[in-house]
């Protein structure tokens, strides 16, 4: 009796685990597809971050040039005035 019970239990367990193993699971290709997607997302995030930095540098370069242009225009006016006085 005891032996029968034990056998039943083991059989039940094996059956259960087999059932679980056979439940719907992604294939290796599908898992790779997910990993590739994640890698692409990470790569895009890095790319965007680099572009944001480039944007900030360009904005600074433009601001610097604006200041230089203003100075040059002021210099032109001052030079014109000094040349008239020479």
């Amino acid at each position: 009796m005891k032996k029968t019970s034990s056998l039943l239990l083991v059989a039940g367990l094996i059956a259960g685990s087999t059932l679980i193993g056979c439940s719907s699971k992604p294939s290796d290709d599908e898992l790779k597809q997910l990993e590739d997607l994640k890698a692409e997302v990470a790569s895009l995030e890095r790319e965007i971050s680099a572009k944001e930095s480039e944007k900030a540098s360009l904005a600074k370069a433009i601001a610097d040039k604006d200041a230089q242009i203003k100075k040059c225009q002021d210099d032109k006016r001052a030079a014109q005035s000094r040349l008239q006085g020479m």
């Binding site: 005891k2 019970s5 034990s6 239990l9 083991v10 367990l13 259960g16 685990s17 679980i20 439940s23 719907s24 699971k25 992604p26 599908e30 898992l31 597809q33 997910l34 997607l37 994640k38 692409e40 997302v41 895009l44 995030e45 790319e47 965007i48 572009k51 944001e52 480039e54 944007k55 360009l58 904005a59 370069a61 433009i62 040039k65 604006d66 230089q68 242009i69 040059c72 225009q73 002021d74 210099d75 032109k76 001052a78 030079a79 014109q80 000094r82 040349l83 020479m86």
Partner: protein
């Protein structure tokens, strides 16, 4: 027996359930794929937008660079001069600045000794001022700054001259009237105001004073700048006293 078997069975179930938990179910996989795909699409759109902004900024930067160059070219056309002339102007300006820096670091005594160079620097500054390139504000400011610093050096020399500290001479009077000897001359407030500095006058006039006890009326003595006695002057004094006290 049953209890032991049950325990083993439960343990197996726990291990099996753990293994199952580590694996992704199809539904979870699908959910993650959907999420990651949406995120990727958002990021792609965002990247396109940022790239467009970067391209626009690059264009703006290039446009500004062109405007700046145009402005600078116009400024240079206004004052004239070739590239070589501009370089020569800048070199001359640097020479003046370095020369002034050198003189500014000197002690009053050394500055006095090189005061003739002030006129040479002034001549160079005047040449720079006459050049049309000095109309460019950067050049103009540098020339003005050099002139201000040179004026400061001129003022220092003028003060040294007025205070009688440099280049001063003293004409020896008579003993009867002026009580002039090196000790008394050094003691005069307008000379050193310190009799103990008499060896300076002696050593500064070795060409005409052989014996410091003997000076003659009408002798024109150079008065070196006021300063503590040098080792040479101290040695001369020691030698003087040794000879004087020799039997």
């Amino acid at each position: 027996m049953i209890k032991r078997t049950s325990l083993v069975a439960m343990l197996m179930m726990v291990v099996a359930s753990g293994a199952v938990a580590q694996e992704l179910s199809k539904e979870e996989w699908q959910k993650q794929v959907t999420e990651q795909t949406a995120k990727r699409n958002d990021l792609r759109n965002k990247l396109t937008a940022v790239q467009t902004e970067v391209d626009n900024l690059k264009k703006q930067d290039a446009d500004k660079a062109a405007v700046l160059k145009n402005c600078q070219d116009e400024l240079m056309a206004m004052v004239g001069g070739t590239e070589e002339q501009r370089k020569a102007y800048s070199d001359k300006m640097a020479r003046v600045e370095n020369w002034i820096n050198e003189l500014s670091r000197l002690s009053n005594q050394d500055l006095w000794a090189r005061k003739g160079e002030i006129d040479e620097i002034q001549k160079l500054i005047d040449e720079l001022k006459k050049d049309k390139l000095s109309a460019v504000p950067d050049n103009y400011n540098r020339v003005q700054n050099a002139q201000n610093r040179l004026d400061a050096l001129k003022r220092t020399i003028a003060q040294l001259t007025e205070s009688g500290q440099m280049g001063m001479t003293y004409t020896v009077g008579t003993w009867a009237r002026d009580r002039d000897c090196l000790w008394n001359i050094a003691k005069k407030p307008r000379i050193y105001d310190n009799a103990f500095l008499w060896p300076k006058i002696w050593q500064g006039n070795r060409d005409q004073i052989k014996n410091p006890d003997i000076i003659h009326p009408g002798q024109k003595l150079k008065i070196p700048p006021k300063a503590p006695l040098t080792n040479e002057e101290k040695a001369a004094v020691r030698s003087y006293w040794q000879k004087k006290n020799a039997p």
